[in-house]
């Protein structure tokens, strides 16, 4: 909805012109005041309101709406990433009047201005939207509506594609399922495989026993053979690439040779496991220990990932009770409360952008599941965010990664790859390297029903 923008020569003021004539689904006009209210909620959330990605906007001092068609972001320091982060698909615009009454209103209500209007949601069953005839983009959307069927079971979702009950699975299907579908349906099916801007790892509760002891944390991360994990889990889950905290192959990633010098990424697993057992004994667990691993009840890739971890940790004397939780409980009884010892924790973002990926390791971030606080990390995160020279920024990012990994504050697992499967009659959907962007469906059409 922004039609143009201007960046002041000092890099401290971004001015956006907003398209006029856009209406929310309740009929009210969308103006710059709504955009300001939305971004105030994201960047400066009121007490009691969570904002998952506010660390991506540390450069912003304030947001102004001087007139109905102008929004200005005033910065504290020039930012290398602000434009990228303003393009977040998560930053949907809300009408100010509802936020004024209740900033949590949109947890249970929808008043958007998108190509589709909310139609129906039946928990555990379906979610539907219908065409918005007043959408501000001329002649869009093409579709009359969309309908999602909900199932945590990979086999059920794959069967839905095979039978034609569903035309697309936006997130991912394992390559074994994809091959079976392709064999059955041939050219009626299109598979788009891309890398994925996401990693599966393990968050560790750093503030409670036994993982407030760095030796125990190091032992567990040393005990994971990530190279074998990739071979075993790729066909089942798409989990594939060994890497650090930025995606392997991306501009910001630690070079593989450098990564392998870190003890827990070395390939000599006998040596790693011996060191893990030594650390556990030194920490007071010569006979190993028992821990609980919380997880999400979604099979792909959470459950298979956990099964592999449990087998790996048994080899160093760590017995794991696996406790899968429904999605809402995985957040409310895990991430939100810190009520866990270990919990499967993905780090997925919509771009290979350091502020997005690294903000979760800063003190107090809502995505800092492990609740650790290290002033070196906070300082390096802050410095990289204000460094415009990409070479210097990458150096700071590498330093920050080493602090996180050396202290095993978070245990990386594997970076994902994406198999997007859809019927060939679904047209004009290009799969980006994650399932967060390009989800508006305004340009998607069906060549037949």
């Amino acid at each position: 909805m922004a039609t143009e923008w201007k960046i002041a020569s000092d890099g401290l003021t971004y001015t956006f012109k907003i398209r006029q004539g856009i209406r929310f689904h309740d009929g009210s006009a969308l103006t710059a005041a709504d955009i300001k209210a939305t971004y105030d909620k994201i960047i400066f959330p009121p007490q009691g309101v969570r904002s998952v990605r506010k660390n991506a906007y540390t450069a912003v001092e304030r947001v102004d709406a001087p007139d109905p068609s102008t929004v200005m972001f005033k910065l504290k320091f020039p930012s290398a990433s602000l434009l990228d982060n303003l393009a977040s698909p998560w930053n949907v615009i809300y009408p100010k009047k509802y936020l004024d009454k209740d900033p949590n209103y949109f947890k249970t209500n929808v008043v958007g201005s998108g190509p589709f209007r909310f139609k129906n949601y039946s928990r555990g069953s379906t979610f539907e939207g219908e065409r918005n005839p007043d959408y501000f983009v001329k002649d869009r959307p093409y579709l009359d509506g969309y309908k999602f069927f909900i199932s945590p079971e990979t086999s059920v979702r794959a069967a839905a594609i095979r039978s034609g009950r569903a035309y697309i699975e936006f997130r991912n299907l394992p390559s074994a399922e994809v091959e079976a579908i392709r064999k059955q349906l041939g050219d009626k099916i299109v598979v788009q495989e891309t890398p994925m801007t996401g990693e599966w790892g393990i968050a560790v509760n750093n503030v409670a026993k036994p993982f407030n002891d760095v030796r125990v944390r190091k032992a567990l991360t040393l005990g994971i053979d990530r190279y074998s994990m990739s071979k075993v889990l790729y066909p089942l889950t798409g989990l594939k690439f060994v890497g650090g905290l930025m995606r392997p192959g991306s501009d910001w990633a630690m070079p593989q040779a450098e990564l392998e010098k870190l003890p827990r990424f070395g390939k000599d697993m006998e040596k790693n496991r011996a060191e893990a057992r030594r650390l556990l004994a030194e920490a007071g667990y010569p006979n190993g220990l028992k821990v609980v691993l919380k997880n999400r009840n979604v099979k792909l890739p959470y459950q298979d990932f956990a099964v592999f971890l449990i087998q790996e940790w048994r080899k160093i004397g760590v017995e794991v009770e696996h406790r899968p939780l429904e999605t809402a409980a995985w957040f409310s009884d895990g991430q939100d409360t810190g009520n866990f010892e270990l919990i499967v924790a993905p780090a997925v973002e919509f771009m290979d952008e350091p502020d997005q990926f690294l903000g979760r390791y800063a003190t107090g971030s809502t995505q800092n599941w492990g609740r650790f606080s290290d002033p070196r990390i906070d300082d390096l995160f802050s410095r990289q965010a204000r460094t415009l020279d990409p070479i210097e920024r990458k150096r700071l990012i590498g330093e920050m990664e080493k602090v996180v990994l050396d202290n095993a504050y978070f245990m990386p697992g594997l970076w994902w790859s994406r198999n997007l499967v859809h019927w060939a009659k679904v047209k004009n959907y290009v799969a980006p390297p994650n399932h967060y962007t390009n989800q508006k469906l305004q340009d998607v059409w069906l060549s037949e029903d």
Binding site: T108, R117, D144, F148, R165, Y167, T327, Q442
Partner: protein, 101 residues
């Protein structure tokens, strides 16, 4: 303070590169789709692996939220997808920004 002019130049260069590359990328899909005329109507049937913990994308970080509600909303800007290939994991960020339609 002495680094400010260099920073400004770099920022301007980044933004310019973003705009130029964005223009090139936006042109690509229209070429790919040129042979087919979009058909109107129909309901896209999809399948998803979880219920949303809430409907507010600002407060959530799961596919189970954004896949379901993204079509209901607008954003100020969007990032444009680039077709990526199985053999390549190199994916540049710059040039992916463009004003929304």
């Amino acid at each position: 303070m002495t680094t400010q002019p260099r920073r400004h130049r770099m920022l301007c260069t980044l933004v310019l590169l973003a705009l130029l590359a964005g223009a090139a990328i936006v042109a690509t899909p229209s070429v790919v789709q040129a042979a087919e005329t979009p058909r109107r109507g129909g309901v896209l049937l999809a399948v998803i692996g979880a219920d949303p913990p809430s409907l507010d994308p600002h407060q959530e970080s799961t596919f189970a939220n954004i896949e379901l509600v993204a079509p209901l909303y607008s954003t100020c800007f969007s990032s444009t997808p680039i077709t990526t290939r199985k053999s390549s994991v190199t994916w540049r960020l710059s040039g992916r920004l463009r004003p929304t339609d």
